[in-house]
């Protein structure tokens, strides 16, 4: 921190922007990714709760696997894939 302590962000907006940019490739990029991830979290809350979960709590199988387990693991994998996509691509 020593070398950066010489001047403060308050007096130097460019440095502030540069620092924010260093976090994730640009202020806007960083913000939009944050918002997308929050949206994905909300989607996950929706997917893994009543009432959506109740739709799959039925006695049937897909390829021999009970529907509920097939649903949970598929939705879970897709959610992770979406998170990876959001994080790894440019906004």
């Amino acid at each position: 921190m020593h070398e950066t302590a010489n001047c403060e962000f308050e007096s130097d907006p460019d440095r502030y922007r540069a620092a924010r940019a260093a976090q994730g490739g640009g202020v806007d990029n960083f913000e939009i990714k944050a918002q997308r991830l929050v949206a994905l979290c909300m989607l996950g809350v929706l997917l893994f709760n009543y009432p959506l979960l109740a739709l799959f709590n039925v006695a049937a199988t897909v390829f021999g696997i009970p529907v509920l387990y097939a649903y949970i693991f598929t939705a879970w994998s897709l959610l992770i894939a979406c998170m990876a996509y959001v994080v790894e691509t440019k906004a």
Partner: protein, 922 residues
Amino acid sequence: MLQGWVIVGTSFAYLGLLFAIAYYADRRADAGRSVIASPYIYSLSLGVYATAWTFYGSVGRAAADGVGFLPIYIGPTLMIALWWVVMRKIIRISKRNRITSLADFIASRYGKSALLGGLVTIIAVVGILPYISLQLKAVSNSFSIVLQYPHIIMPAKVGAMPVLQDTALWVALILAAFTIVFGTRHLDAAEHHEGMVAAIAFESLVKLLAFLAVGVFITFGIYNGFGDVFDRAAAVPKLNAMMTPLEGVAGGYASWMWLTILSMLAIMFLPRQFQVAVIENVDEKHLNKAIWLFPLYMIAINIFVLPIAFGGVLHFPAGSVDADTFVLTLPMAEKQELLALLVFIGGLSAATGMVIVETIALSTMVCNDLLMPILLRQPWLKLNQRKDLTGLLLGIRRGAIVLVLLLGYLYFRLAGEAYALVSIGLISFAAVAQFAPAVFGGIFWKGGTRRGALCGLLAGFGVWLYTLLLPALARSGWLPIGLLEHGPFGIELLNPQQLFGLTRLDHITHAMIWSMIANTGAYVIASLWGVQSADEHRQASLFVDVFKQGGERGEARFWRGTASVPDLYRLLARFVGSASAVSTIDDYTQSKGPQYRENPLQADAEFVHHVEMQLAGAIGAASARIMVASVVKEEALTVDEVREILDEASQVVVYSHRLEQKSRELEAATAELRIANERLTELDRLKDDFISTVTHELRTPLTSIRAFSEILLDDPKIELAQRKNFLGIITKETARLSRLINQVLDLSKIESGAAEWQESSVDMKELVADTVAGMSQLFQEKNVRLDADLPERVPAVTADFDRIVQVLLNLLSNAIKFCDRDHGEVRVALTEHDACLQVAVCDNGPGIGAEDHAAIFDKFRQGGDTLTGKPQGTGLGLHISRHIVERFGGKIWAESRPGQGACFYFTLPIAATPAPAQGGNT
């Protein structure tokens, strides 16, 4: 045959390998080539979340209710999506304030309160004990089971065994020794344990591979894939119920939801998770990959849980084998020696990973946030006069590790048998979830106070003790079981598992609901109705606004007082060792420049702050504060002063933003002014040119008028014919003069924008035909042939009729002037071209040189040689025509080659929506 010595030998070989990895990583770190500076290692180290509970307990839980184990991994997946915002902020705050543990974080946020740090430490230690006991139980159980190979015999109840013959005790002691060697070999000012992180990442790999191996073996070796397992399970009534477990065996959706919330909080606030995710984080950017890699790890380690659970239930007679041990007992029942050994090592790696990180995190807390602040305040210990305290610090930490593990063992003896593995773990989850209001409130809400955090934590922890720990002890027979059946003193409303009559919930959901209400409520209410001290106010602002501040100097503004450099040096040396202290201070003064060399004994605020931060890295924020306060004469800042400094800073920001904006506006205005000024200068020059040209043009006819008038005046005897001739010239020149003046007036009107334009829909065919007809007399007089080539009908254009006639007249009269003297020929054509009407006027005169094509439209420019030839017009006609045509969106230009005549063209855009009535007007 798996003999005792094989198992013990393999276990120690494995621990030895871990140690070798840690040692190698530490050596690499010292050499500056860190092995853990990778997002993959960071993600794997987060896998310390999967403990023996995951390894053995998930299957146990799945065998009981099918889905109950899943929220524990889905919750973190949801939470980690928010890490981009939340965890990044916590990491940034922790790095800036050199936070050493979760307790340090909370204490530091609420005014570096030693009391709060101590409370958090106690909650963490008490809360985590069941969790540690779970690891001991898992390792000792799996050891006893695998020792009986090939027979499958469940271990005896712990209570039946003398303490010294209890495997769990030996496991606890060996793990304590191992952790001490691992985590407290030396004191690191930054609290980084690179070796440990590398070993943990390796352990994550081992347990994942072991679990996948056994999963593949059971699913595809014993059974024929997933479908087969589920198929056979569906035939068993007990397992069939688990195909649709929600609402049935697993309890309602409320249970599911609260388990999810609980594990969302656990992934952030378990001390070991905080340790690997925040304290051991070497680069914020590693978060990005971890956000999807870590959930991927969790899904991978859970894929085979259900097949193993169902396979176990199908394989063993009901009740003969504990479902928590299926992972181990299934390969044993199939006589897979090596696989059983691999599973045992996998379980060992899951348990050791958890115990190592957890106890290191807890020992740091116990040392920095519980014991040091107390010890440093004891005058009789004279700690302030001890030269070197590093030994003491290490001693305390080592003692704390042993103590935590022995307490974990004690809990195991007292209550370990009452619950399955998962339930024990959930009790710990519920304890650390109590940190959530204080931490989330702390980083997003400046209003949270120390008193609020204290009240919230005490209330939440109190409810946890009453609704979870008490029943656990009662079930183990240490308290009368009647407590759970009828409530204390027979008061039903106070029943610990049905508090205030809240029934029909499982005990974890029940405890979470009441403790979160109590915790959050107390935190918010006490914060809103309390006042913040100066320290709290400052820390609140530093935490919440961490992304808005600069480097360390930001914090130094809050300090006022005097201190001497030697005092600070001695202080630092006592805690981090003298060599380290010298290099720290030297580095700092050198980076600061000459003012320190001039005045080497007086430390300024920034210097004091720097030392405090270094110290905080070693002994925690609260202790560091106490120590620094002991050697400097500090003037306490009042709340108002802190507020003033903060306001000042924010005002400066606002002011500088405003200034920046003002200067941008000014720059823009200056640029506009410069352009306007250039235009003005240009116009001024043009005006001068114009006046001199006009006066010149006026003088020419005036001169001839005057000359002929004087002749007539002087000589009355001039012949009549001569006189007539002279008078004719005078009349012609006067006409030219008035035409010139009219055109100058016209031009000045057009140029100044004062001209009146009467726009209407104009039929160009009619206009051209009329104009040509009006001019035909003149053409005949001059003996010039005029051809007009007009189409049947053309679309209308929007223009001023009279002005366009003026343009056409001008072109026609020019054509007459310049066409061939003897066989004059002028052709007028009207055509339609891409949304424009084009009028062409061509003559067969001498033509215009290419260099003049553009210039003839300038003022007072005429075709031909103006010096020798007689001027034939005013030189303003084409210029005015150009103005008119451009006014209506058209273009005017000339095409010619000398000797082949000249063509003048002008275009007018066709009206966008011509009315049909006007089109048929002709």
